[in-house]
């Protein structure tokens, strides 16, 4: 059986070094609030899978991070959200992509897992399923914040040089270097990039692990773009051993099957949780920038990132609690 519960939350890897202090404070407060919600749920013996859903719903409902309300915008100025959830016991999973009117995508992912014969539904089919299941739906405008409208404009200006796939990729590096901001992620200056995907991993008192990740995706993404968050093994993974949620440059995370690899090196190389996290961040990411949070079935919690920062918080039953950005 388990050796105590543990929980971690994140609000994305890759942070603008010039992020105003009051914004940093807001982020920390939100992470703390979400941790406390999770801790309370764990103390009242909710299973891990319910706790990760509950916490990610809270993160989706707050406009601060890039998920649910506050999601990044597509090149068309709309919101297309995606999410996935996985229960370590039985490795059951559910995922959604291209969701435009569902208030809490993570709960729809949970319903795909629990109530559909499939594990992944997308776009109009996912919306249809949402209506069928009677989840709370809102107009797409609900998700769009003024901040993000401004960011999209900036991203478009930057992308006209940086990110047009019709320009041969050989030209891209020199163009990227010409942009003022020293840090570039996914081809965007960090001040605009703001990945801020959210995620939560939990091991409950019985040693059951679960993971959940939710995102609006990449600012100025092509309509239809699917990132790592809904992909089991990439952005989200849980099994008997651990639960993992990743964030950062989605394409790098997909290529390195980052979340599964934390579990794979624990299973096949018999590394401990923190060793496994360090291993995948250092050895698996190639050039990519990303971060992740993880818990193990014996109540450990760990995180790692190779970006300049990651919004994160973690706590465990023995009284440990930490909220940090840098």
């Amino acid at each position: 059986m388990g050796r105590g519960w543990a929980i971690a939350v994140h609000g994305g890897a890759g942070v603008d070094p010039n992020l105003p202090l009051h914004r940093q404070e807001e982020a920390k407060q939100l992470l703390t609030r979400c941790l406390n919600i999770g801790i309370a749920a764990l103390r009242s013996s909710l299973p891990a899978i319910d706790v990760v859903e509950l916490v990610v719903r809270e993160l989706e409902s707050d406009p601060l991070f890039n998920s649910g309300r506050g999601s990044a915008l597509t090149e068309k100025g709309t919101v297309e959200m995606e999410a996935s959830i996985m229960d370590g016991s039985g490795r059951r999973c559910g995922a959604v992509s291209g969701v435009t009117t569902v208030k809490n995508p993570i709960s729809l992912a949970r319903l795909v897992m629990d109530k559909s014969p499939h594990s992944y539904l997308a776009f109009s089919g996912a919306e249809e399923f949402a209506k069928q299941q009677g989840v709370e739906m809102v107009n797409n405008d609900y998700f769009i914040t003024q901040d993000n409208v401004g960011m999209l404009k900036l991203a478009k200006e930057a992308n006209t040089i940086l990110f047009d796939y019709r320009i041969p990729s050989t030209g891209m590096e020199s163009c990227a270097a010409a942009v003022e901001s020293p840090i570039v992620m996914n081809g965007l200056p960090i001040s605009i990039y703001a990945p801020e995907t959210v995620g939560c991993v939990v091991v409950d008192g019985q040693g059951r692990c679960a993971a959940a990740t939710s995102t609006g995706g990449l600012m100025n993404k092509m309509s239809g773009r699917i990132g790592d968050s809904p992909l089991i093994g990439a952005g989200t993974y849980a099994c008997d051993l651990c639960g993992v949620s990743c964030t950062g440059e989605g394409e790098a995370i997909i290529r390195s099957t980052l979340a599964r690899d934390v579990a794979a090196v624990m299973e096949y190389k018999e590394l401990g949780l923190q060793e496994a996290v360090d291993f995948v961040i250092n050895k698996r990411l190639d050039q990519g920038l990303a971060g992740l949070i993880a818990v193990s079935n014996n109540g450990e919690v760990a995180y790692g990132f190779n970006t300049n920062g990651m919004f994160r918080g973690c706590a465990s039953e023995n009284g440990f609690m930490e909220v940090g950005i840098w």
């Binding site: 996985m86 490795r91 059951r92 999973c93 995922a95 992509s97 291209g98 559909s116 014969p117 499939h118 594990s119 992944y120 539904l121 997308a122 776009f123 109009s124 089919g125 996912a126 249809e128 399923f129 990110f163 796939y165 019709r166 996914n186 081809g187 993404k221 092509m222 309509s223 239809g224 773009r225 699917i226 990132g227 992909l231 089991i232 093994g233 990439a234 993974y237 989605g250 394409e251 997909i254 290529r255 390195s256 099957t257 599964r260 690899d261 794979a264 090196v265 096949y268 190389k269 190639d286």
Partner: protein, 355 residues
């Protein structure tokens, strides 16, 4: 005619001396440590599933012929020194164009009677990859996946966005009705009557009494895929599918999910087929590579572990090649349409476990 060799004969073929003994010894040592490539290899599949031994010849033979034809195309391309990435794309295009396999033309239908195709391609050395889902008009989904990999900053495009990208890139598109075959209309009807989601390859639930021969017709169709390695050890994998009969609109399976249905790195290339949901949760394709990388297993042992330990009986099959030119094609279903060839002369086309 392709002979189906016994296991003993297969072993003999594998050990056939093709180079001088001295060189072979050196290569053998290098091969043990994974330093030397030993020649090209290719494998392809047309889906794993509940394929009955009683499958009548008129249904088996056209599919065998297609496998043989596609294998020949792939072997010729490898001999002409085409890159494995080009080879797997070429072979999967051919399988997509074949109406008896569940990909491209011949794709099975959603619960609304529509086609939604998906595909994924991955290059081993660079780990570059591209994937698409929810295609309705693109003649060759695998080639669109390749374009996503090469011409966009993204890896994965789905549904309307993927269709818009296809038009922008000028790939061949056609009215959705092109993909729909009478056999698949019939299969959907049967699945609806059975009121359940039917895995692409299962026998339709026999209506009582079974009415026409067509009701057991093209039911053994599955996902298609190809993996290849050249004699420099470059690897690539590609998978394409129409998904499940009577699937919900918007359903995404394992095929386009990198690490689930498709994966390639510097060690091996893998394409999986079977029950998508089972393959996703077992991250089948990535785990073959992970077992080789982290546990030092051989390709054959790694693949066998996935099929016999990590997935339940009746749910999965895979084809895989290693950088050193080994091939393996295990499955835990009744059968899997499969074919492979290696530079040292091994050649196989089979459906059920032993033939």
């Amino acid at each position: 005619m392709v002979a189906f060799p016994s296991n003993k004969e297969k072993k003999k073929q594998k050990s056939r001396v093709t180079i001088t003994q001295h060189t072979e010894k050196t290569f053998y040592i290098l091969r043990i440590y994974g330093w030397a490539a030993m020649g090209w290899a290719i494998a392809l599949h047309g889906g794993a599933g509940d394929i009955q031994k009683s499958l009548p010849p008129e249904r088996r033979e056209p599919r065998e012929a297609a496998l043989r034809h596609c294998l020949e195309i792939g072997v010729a391309a490898l001999k002409a020194h085409k890159s494995p990435l080009d080879v797997v794309e070429l072979v999967v295009r051919e399988l997509e164009n074949h109406p008896h396999y569940n990909a491209g033309r011949g794709s099975v239908l959603t619960t609304h009677g529509t086609v939604e195709m998906e595909a994924c391609i991955m290059d081993g050395k660079s780990k570059q990859c591209g994937a698409v889902s929810g295609l309705k008009t693109v003649v060759n989904p695998i080639s669109l996946a390749r374009l996503v990999m090469e011409k966009t900053p993204h890896i994965y495009l789905g549904f309307d966005g993927a269709e818009a990208f296809a038009r922008e890139q000028g790939v061949e598109t056609i009215d959705s009705s092109h993909f729909i075959t009478p056999e698949n209309i019939e299969r959907l009807k049967q699945a609806r009557e059975a009121n359940r989601v039917q895995i692409d390859f299962t026998q339709p639930l026999p209506k009582v009494p079974q009415e026409t021969p067509t009701s057991s017709g093209d039911s053994q169709i599955g996902t298609v895929g190809c993996v290849a390695v050249d004699n420099q050890g470059n690897l690539a994998a590609a998978t394409s599918t129409g998904g499940l009969v009577n699937k919900m609109v918007g359903r995404i399976g394992d095929t386009p999910v990198v690490g689930a249905g498709t994966y390639a790195n510097h060690l091996c290339a893998v394409s999986a087929t079977g029950k998508g949901e089972a393959i996703i949760r077992a991250t089948v394709a990535r785990d073959v590579a992970a077992l080789m990388e982290y546990k030092g297993l051989s390709l054959e042992d790694a693949a066998a572990h996935l099929i016999h330990e990590s997935t339940s009986p009746g749910t999965a099959g895979l084809i895989a090649v290693s950088a050193t030119g080994e091939v393996t094609m295990p499955f835990n279903t009744t059968g899997m349409f499969r074919a492979c060839a290696t530079e040292d002369g091994h050649n196989e086309i089979a459906i059920c476990p032993f033939y």
